[in-house]
C-alpha cells in the first residue's frame, strides 16, 4: 500500500514518519507538499507532528488553509484513511474532521516523555491488530494536548465508540496522574464517526524500533497495513 505524508512548512516529524513506513514497514511512501494539489495515489494520508506554521495563532490553525487540504478533505469524506499524529491531530480538529479542540497542557509546560495509553477500541483500521485494554508505551511531545469537548458531544463520542486511546497507568487504570496533560476523560486519540480518520497525540513513529526505547507504536502501522491487505485489496474471484 502507499502512504502519503503531508509536509507543511513547519512540519518536523515528516521525515521520521516517512522513514518508519518506508524503512521499518517496507511500504511505499511519499511526501505530499502542502502547496500542491496531488495526493499521489496514496491509500493512507498522514498528517505528521511538528509545528505546521510555528503553531502561531493556535496549534494547527493555519495549516488548514493550505491548498492540499481541499484534496485531503475530499479523500477523507470519501472514506480514505487519514491519520493525524500530534500536530496532525490538532490540524484535524481545526479542520473539523474530528470534533473538539486542544487546550494547553494542564501544567502549562511542553511535555516530552513516554506515556502509557490504553487501546479502548480495536474496531478501527488503525488498531485492529491490537487488543482492547492493551497498554502501549509511546512518547508524547506537545504543548497543547489537553483535549476538550463539550459534554453533549462527549456523550456522543462514548456512544459511538469513538474514543480509541486513553492515557492510563501501566496496568491500564485511568488516574489523574496518568492523565498527564489534563485531557477530558483522559482522551489521547479518537476516530471520526465513519471510522476512517484518526487523531492521536502520542507519536507511534517514535516507538516503532526497539532501539528507541519502545516499539509499542508498531501496532498502529501494522493495523493500517493489515486492514489494507485484507479489506481494501480487491479479492480474487
Amino acid at each position: 500500500m502507499k502512504f502519503g505524508v503531508v509536509v507543511f512548512p513547519g512540519s518536523n516529524c515528516d521525515s521520521d514518519t516517512l522513514y518508519v513506513v518506508k524503512e521499518v514497514f517496507n511500504q511505499e511512501a511519499e511526501f505530499l507538499w502542502h502547496k500542491d494539489h496531488d495526493l499521489k495515489n496514496s491509500d493512507c494520508i498522514i498528517f505528521p507532528g511538528g509545528f505546521s506554521y510555528g503553531d502561531y495563532l493556535r496549534s494547527g490553525a493555519i495549516a488548514r488553509f493550505s491548498p492540499l487540504i481541499k484534496e485531503v478533505r475530499e479523500f477523507a469524506l470519501n472514506g480514505g484513511l487519514v491519520l493525524g499524529i500530534c500536530n496532525g491531530f490538532q490540524i484535524l480538529l481545526e479542520l473539523g474532521l474530528l470534533p473538539g479542540a486542544m487546550l494547553r497542557n494542564k501544567n502549562l509546560k511542553f511535555l516530552c516523555q513516554h506515556v502509557n495509553i490504553r487501546i479502548d477500541n480495536t474496531d478501527t483500521p488503525f488498531t485492529l491488530a491490537g487488543n482492547i485494554g492493551q497498554v502501549l508505551s509511546i512518547p508524547i511531545a506537545h504543548f497543547d494536548g489537553n483535549y476538550y469537548i463539550d459534554n453533549n458531544s462527549l456523550k456522543d463520542l462514548h456512544k459511538q465508540n469513538q474514543i480509541v486511546f486513553r492515557y492510563s497507568e501501566q496496568n491500564g487504570n485511568l488516574s489523574k496522574k496518568s492523565n498527564v496533560n489534563g485531557s477530558i476523560n483522559s482522551i489521547a486519540g479518537l476516530i471520526n464517526k465513519n471510522g476512517n480518520v484518526l487523531g492521536m497525540m502520542p507519536h507511534p513513529e517514535r516507538a516503532s524500533e526497539a532501539i528507541l526505547g519502545s516499539d509499542d507504536g508498531r501496532v498502529i502501522f501494522e493495523s493500517i497495513i493489515q486492514y489494507f491487505d485484507k479489506v481494501k485489496k480487491p479479492q480474487p474471484c
Binding site: 495563532l57 490553525a61 488553509f65 479542540a101 487546550l103 494542564k106 502549562l108 476538550y148 463539550d150
Partner: protein, 80 residues
C-alpha cells in the same frame, strides 16, 4: 483603519494561564484581584475598505481564523 479583535476562552472553559497569573498576583500581595482571565488581542491595520464593509468582514475573519469557536469567543472594536 485600525481594528482590535479580542479573543478569549468561553466562560465554560477553564483558563489555567489566567489562574496562574491570578495566583502569582496573590502571592505578591495584590489581594484585591478577584479573578484573571487571559486572552489574545489582534490589532489589524486595514486599508482601502469602508467602515461598513469592515463591520461585516471582521466577524467573518475572527470566526474563521482568529478564534476557534469551539472554545473561544471574540469581540471587536473599530478604533478609528
Amino acid at each position: 483603519m485600525k481594528v482590535r479583535v479580542l479573543v478569549s476562552f468561553k466562560d465554560s472553559i477553564l483558563d489555567p494561564q489566567g489562574k496562574t497569573v491570578e495566583h502569582s498576583l496573590h502571592t505578591l500581595g495584590y489581594d484585591f484581584v478577584d479573578e484573571v482571565r487571559q486572552g489574545k488581542v489582534f490589532e489589524l491595520e486595514l486599508k482601502g475598505i469602508s467602515r461598513e464593509k469592515a463591520e461585516k468582514i471582521i466577524p467573518e475573519i475572527a470566526d474563521k481564523v482568529l478564534a476557534n469557536p469551539i472554545i473561544e469567543k471574540f469581540s471587536f472594536e473599530i478604533m478609528d
